[in-house]
Point group: C2
Chain length 209, copies 2
């Protein structure tokens, strides 16, 4: 059975996935500088053929993914209705997805085909419906859920996430959006299957019970 998987979601030691005031020149907001440094370093290491715990987790994140779901804040810094359709994501003309990407938003717009095989679709349908569409698009491969925290929480509460890889960075934010928040009884569906530290971060993996 294809799975819904989240990878490389990085939080501070006090649990924050974003800081405050997310915007164009600070996609993750203020107070979380360097949060994803471990991941960029692991990507470089991997490209240069090095191995290690962080490299392994980054490699796992790219295996067998056929579609992606993300929230609107992960697609862009804009809030409210689209002023026009000139924003095409953070990633330039050739986004690194190369498959269908479903952006959950109340503000719909036409599907947006990009170079390299990525097409952004915009949907305000329920989480289950979007997931069905993503599984269809993935054609037997797994679906990856990106961020932000609110989108991940919706899928966790609905018990739809099969595997969630979290990296805990040794820093504090004090404020922002927590990843593992507003879950309540939703956590009953999950257990922590892995907990291990590299030299730079701690990795945890949640799986369905």
């Amino acid at each position: 059975m294809p799975k819904l998987r989240a990878h490389n979601l990085t939080i501070t030691l006090d649990g924050f996935a974003t800081g405050t005031d997310q915007r164009l020149d600070a996609p993750f907001g203020d107070g979380v500088d360097g949060l994803h440094d471990w991941m960029f370093a692991a990507m470089r290491d991997r490209a240069e053929g090095r191995t290690g715990i962080d490299v392994d987790f980054v490699a796992r994140s790219e295996e067998n993914i056929g579609a992606t779901i993300m929230g609107r804040n992960m697609f862009g810094p804009l809030r409210g209705p689209w002023q026009d359709e000139s924003w095409t994501g953070w990633w330039g003309d050739n986004p690194p997805y190369h498959h269908d990407v479903f952006v959950r938003t109340h503000h719909l717009r036409p599907s947006l085909p990009m170079e390299g095989g990525t097409t952004f679709h915009f949907s305000d349908e329920p989480v289950e419906t979007v997931l069905e569409r993503a599984f269809d698009a993935a054609a037997g491969k797994d679906v990856r859920i990106g961020g932000g925290p609110d989108t991940v929480q919706q899928y966790l509460r609905a018990q739809l996430v099969d595997e969630l890889h979290l990296a805990i960075a040794p820093m504090l934010a004090g404020r922002g959006e927590r990843l593992l928040d507003n879950l309540g009884d939703g956590v009953d569906g999950y257990r922590v299957a892995e907990l291990t530290s590299s030299a730079t971060v701690t990795h945890a993996v949640l799986v369905r019970r």
Copy 2:
């Protein structure tokens, strides 16, 4: 200079130090069963002469401590005014402190000497004042801050904690009291100096910048 130190404070992966409904037969509340198992195992291992990461952290927690500060919820499950003075803590006639313990509470009562050198003092004075009294009582040794979360947060916000050892257990709670919460700018005073995993938990150490 003597330090204010916290040790073995254990949280779930989603950040909770206690569950819900703390009471006599569930001192840490519901939803966090097994949270401190790593610590009890390490204490046993240590008593039997075994070594390891967890044992090392437990050993560090007991070095050079001359007084303890805790919140009222760590002293007992009772809330509101004392009905009488029959409650003498969770620890029996001979508590494992063997020094002065300062219990922060709005509900004062006379100091309570116990067997083995522990004396509980009850104080509603400001955090700084209680800390001064504790340093006096410690006579050159360090002061340890116990829990609960609210007490730890007050001392963190006041930038008075010199070292805080945290253990992250591979479990989820979904609700309860978070340890690293309500800190805001308070986190600016701290950095994460250590982050390492044993087979059972991840250890993190916060220190003053």
